[in-house]
């Protein structure tokens, strides 16, 4: 493969992935509204298109045409920068997630992954850890106390849970002895090799931390409507708000993708093409997300910190230690 070919193929892959993720985000909102509607014994969006399938598009159009408001005492540059900072790391994550097996198209062998880094997991971490800036800066630069409080809360929450988040997958890494996501998938060829069965504790911790990382209910304190209006994006409107919105859903999807890759065997599966399996698993994970949101009440802030530092963190540490011990023996 020549350099030119590489450049072209990579560009195509990037474009395809970005488009897919954006569409995924849009329909994730639809899925959420629909599911929550049914959980609450109502129908959810059903007017725009069949089953309300056109609803996300309508929403998008509405958001784009709204007025872009910037508060007077906002720090303009950072205020403008924050949604982008939120959005970009969320998208970057997809660069290393393998969506499927190698396929041959037009005589070219194409990996179904934008870039197969041999430190893929570390890349995911690095990018995830950058995600916090968008929120912090949004909260700080809005010049509103609700935003500030929401920003501080959410960044504290993300930093706290990042520790347990990182440790929870350490067990998988210790068993797999690799950072590469592709290899991780390859090691989960049969269902029984899925890491969820070898790392059940790690998986549970991962799910909880992932929810907290993405500021979703029941850990959605930073945007708790009842106390903080809408947290860090209170002052945002129009397209900037849309970017936060997309960023959040992109984050959810990326976390789901990573979970699928790490614990649920990635694209591995019988009969159906790999990409389909991957999508099925991600949708399953997203549904769990939404299900949890519809079921559980919000935690108090001290409970949240308690859970993160005094329950999950030691548990994850213990999990790593036990796993290492078993691997060592």
């Amino acid at each position: 493969m020549t350099a030119t070919e590489f450049a072209i193929i990579s560009s195509i892959k990037v474009v395809v992935v970005v488009l897919a993720v954006l569409t995924g985000c849009a329909y994730a909102t639809w899925l959420e509204r629909k599911l929550v509607g049914h959980f609450q014994h109502r129908i959810g969006p059903n007017l725009a298109g069949p089953f309300g399938l056109l609803q996300p598009i309508a929403d998008a159009i509405k958001l784009i045409f709204k007025e872009d408001i910037v508060p007077d005492n906002a720090e303009r540059v950072t205020y403008a920068l924050a949604p982008i900072l939120m959005f970009i790391p969320a998208m970057l994550n997809f660069a290393v997630v393998p969506f499927g097996d190698t396929v041959t198209l037009f005589g070219h062998k194409i990996d179904m992954v934008v870039s197969d880094l041999n430190i893929g997991i570390l890349f995911v971490f690095a990018v995830t850890s950058l995600g916090v800036y968008g929120i912090v800066l949004a909260g700080w630069s809005s010049g509103s106390k609700y935003s500030l409080l929401g920003g501080i809360r959410s960044s504290a929450q993300m930093i706290s849970y990042e520790v347990a988040y990182g440790l929870s997958i350490m067990g998988v890494l210790v068993i797999a002895q690799t950072f590469s996501l592709n290899e991780l998938v390859a090691q989960q060829a049969s269902v029984w090799h899925w890491f969820i069965f070898r790392q059940p504790v790690g998986f549970v911790i991962y799910v909880i931390c992932a929810i907290a990382e993405t500021n979703r209910s029941p850990f959605d304190l930073p945007e708790a409507e009842s106390e903080l209006v809408a947290g860090y994006h209170t002052e945002y409107s129009s397209m900037r708000f849309a970017m936060f919105y997309i960023g959040e859903y992109a984050n959810m999807i990326s976390v789901s993708c990573v979970a699928t890759t790490l614990f649920l065997g990635g694209w591995q599966g019988p009969f159906l093409p790999p990409v389909v399996w991957f999508v099925i698993k991600v949708i399953f994970f997203m549904s769990v997300y939404i299900w949890i949101r519809a079921t559980l009440p919000r935690l108090r802030y001290d409970q949240l910190m308690y859970l993160g530092w005094k329950v999950l963190f030691p548990l994850a540490l213990l999990n790593v230690m036990v796993t290492s011990l078993i691997v060592l023996l």
Partner: protein
């Protein structure tokens, strides 16, 4: 190609660094420092130090600088302008010193360390150079003792930070 990336990274790093120290607003400084760090991480990757590069982003950008940002937000610092009271000579002296220092460094590079073309000295890197495994191997064998010491250092830092930042009753009453 590599050279182009390097130049880009170098310019971004130096420019970010300069912007960082020239800002009045600490939040902007933090952002510029992040930019610089990302550029440095790029150079790390160019030097095959993939693992350490990723760590640099995770540790610095993900943790340390968030802490900075936190403190800035906590103290609610906006671009403060400090009252001017320094003597007239101070600033020029300092700038001259800094310039002299970098000139000396460059002169030192030129005459002491590298006679001849450097790329000839370049050794082919081993296959797994810069990965997590060799770092870990050294860390747990040759450098085990410093590594353990580091853990003690971190513990001390945790305790120290907690003790110092804790508010005592007096402060609580003052509402700070």
């Amino acid at each position: 190609m590599e050279l182009i990336i390097f130049y880009l990274a170098a310019v971004v790093a130096v420019g970010g660094g300069l912007m960082m120290i020239m800002q009045r607003n600490p939040v902007a400084s933090v952002l510029y420092l992040i930019v610089t760090l990302v550029a440095i991480a790029v150079m790390f990757v160019q030097l095959n130090a993939v693992f350490v590069g990723a760590l640099l982003i995770i540790v610095y950008a993900g943790a340390i600088l968030v802490l900075f940002l936190f403190v800035i937000m906590l103290l609610n610092l906006r671009g403060e302008k400090f009252a001017e009271k320094r003597t007239r000579l101070d600033r020029p002296t300092r700038i001259i010193l800094a310039v002299a220092f970098i000139l000396e460094l460059l002169a030192m590079f030129k005459q002491v360390a590298f006679p001849g073309r450097m790329d000839e000295l370049m050794v082919q890197a081993s296959p797994d150079f810069g990965g997590a495994r060799p770092v870990a191997e050294l860390l747990y064998t040759k450098y085990l003792f410093p590594f353990e010491l580091t853990s003690i250092l971190l513990l001390v830092a945790i305790v120290g930070a907690v003790v110092m930042a804790r508010r005592d009753e007096k402060d609580k009453k003052r509402g700070i």
